[in-house]
Amino acid sequence: MKADIRVALIGNPNTGKSTLFNALTGLNQKIGNFPGVTVEKKTGYSQLPDGRKAEIIDLPGTYSLYPKSKDESIVFSVLAEKGTGLTPDLVVVILDATNLKRNLLLYTQVADLKIPVIIALNMIDLAKKSGIIIDINLLAKKLGVPVVPVSARKLEGIAELKIAISFANKFALQQESIDVNAIAPELIESISREIKTNNPYFALQLAHQHENIAFLTPAESDRIEELEKEHSFHSQKAQATETIARYSYINDVLYDTVKTPVTAHDETHSNKIDKILTHKVFGFIIFLGILMFMFQSIFAWSAYPMSLIEELFVWIQGALRNILPVGPLTGLLIDGVVAGLSGVMVFIPQIAILFAFISILEDTGYMSRVTFMMDKIMRKVGLNGKSVVPLIGGFACAVPSIMSTRTIENWKDRMITIMVTPLVTCSARLPVYTLLIALVVPNRNVWWLFNLQGLALTGMYLLSLVSAIVVAYVMKYILKSRERGYFIMELPVYRMPRWNNVLFSMYERAKTFVLEAGKVIIAVSIILWVLSSYAPSDRFEKIEQKYQQPQYTKTIKPDELNRIVSSEKLENSYAGVLGHVIEPVIKPLGFDWKIGIALITSFAAREVFVGTMATIYSVDGDATRIESVQEKMRNAKNPHGQPVFSLAVAFSLMMFYAFAMQCASTVAVVYRETKDWRWPAAQFAYMTVLAYAAAFISYNLLK
């Protein structure tokens, strides 16, 4: 889509920027990344009243052009960089009308870059309600830019804003805010000469940020560094001087344009809620309650749509099988591609539900209170107050939880959270655990109260949480942080969630997951399908010939015969061969090559373990019925006549599944979130080592 004008949205966090973005673009938007970094870039299109089309770029929320985090560092680059195809023709600065003073700091910085600017004065209705009187015309006159009052939540003023965008000047006409040259006169002059700019603030910003800016050549950056030394420039002192000067200018501007009552109404209202929600006792109880409700809902509400999606795909597979001729291509399509697609789609309900909750928690302002309450505990183990939500979400599924770590601004905290979230017992491990526990743990009560099987399962859940915390604690010392950890954070006033935003966020996350992680999952499914349905040389033919002999066809029922054939085929397939290959490696864990096959096939998703066991032991009847799989596994004997699934082997297997990264979707989503293959690789490696060690220890202890 080609646009006639490019508009960047910029503003402080919690100013309703994404609401305004949604109001301007509707569903006509896409999420990507800014080139070269993992910072999320949202773009959309808006039809202007004069018939032109505007491309809207939503920039990360920031309090200033001087970045505190990686996300924020993108803002100056986009505004300043020429020739990347991102440079905006116009900047719409969104200001929170209830807190103009702090919001105007960012405006004055953007204005001094001399890019055409419009101010969208958001939450004007809330400002009125709390008794703040703003002389909009005078404000516009003093700043020299159009000021459009809007209420993005109520969709008021959007049409006027679009008109203002279409009438916007091509030239920056705003008033000078502060005397930038006074901050570092000689340096600004020499940089301006060096890189040929006539904007002193642009030159000053380059002095501060030249090390992180892609469009400067290394030579230019070194030259700026030299000039800084020459003029003994101190970046932080200069920033302090600039900020004080800007606030003094802002105070002048606000002096006769804004009248604020002594206490804003909204603040006291918010205060009352805070007294309960961050209370010493109730605060934690309420938070625990919300987490449990979230966890339960992800489990309960997603069960029905998930089985619906699965049934739909089973139906599609059946229908395709009837239509298409039998052959390798059909097999690839049905058992590789469609099966893989089903494996992707089945995550959508969980992702949508988790993001609905997260979006509500963020929108209302409760998420920052969670961070506020949990910061002290979580910091001790190298995590962040906001890590609590992904970790608890991990009990349902690591995939949406890892996507939700975007809310953690601190790079190191976020990486540690991503690295440990897959350790938490997700719902896909549940069928594996229940199968194995029922197999070896007697179903009786101890001390009348506790069921042994239930205790074993609870133990696995607790173990996962403990291991996640321990690993996080270790990683705290391994990872080198690139940013200093701040906790200077706004606690926004409580507001009702914007249901539109909730829906958008559910839709966007699901779409992003399907489009990006889906590719990897489908690729892995296809590989696994090839491995389990092809065999070296003519092994399959031999099996089929063998079972076509009358001694089999006469004595065994056709159904039973089919199961035996497919079981023997799987044992002889490439997956079976691989099972034999890895047998020496997994033998110390108590696993034979048949379990090896299951380990390989369940790499795409852990729950596949049960299905593979069913095929290997040629389970009759409904293979999805866990009891019949159990029966076969219980009777399985090794060559020495002992049962394969002893207590030691079962626990060793559970330990393996507790720690191993047996989930292609998680690998894919970690790659998507970090944009660097080394992260999922490191994660896969450390989890496999842990899994091996834990399985080895428990096998040898219980043997």
Binding site: Y66, L105, Q236, Q239, A264, N271, K376, I488, V493
Partner: protein, 71 residues
């Protein structure tokens, strides 16, 4: 006296900062010399704290608050 020593509800006026890097971030957030700050609450575990400054609520760790010297 530093901001970290104030009890809930107490008010102070920012005088200066002991940590330059931190002060830059704090000032950007509207916490400038001459500005009035009020401790509005302390997190259940004693850290961080929330203050009321230039018309909104800001949370910061005790350590960060200890770099703010009050009049």
């Amino acid at each position: 006296m530093t901001l970290s020593q104030l009890e809930i509800g107490e008010i102070g006026i920012v005088k200066e900062f002991t940590d330059l890097e931190m002060s830059v971030k704090l000032m950007e957030m509207g916490c400038l010399p001459g500005e009035e700050v009020r401790v509005s609450r302390i997190a259940p575990l004693g850290d961080p704290i929330a203050i009321h400054v230039s018309g909104y609520q800001l949370s910061l760790r005790k350590f960060e608050a200890s770099t703010i010297i009050l009049h």
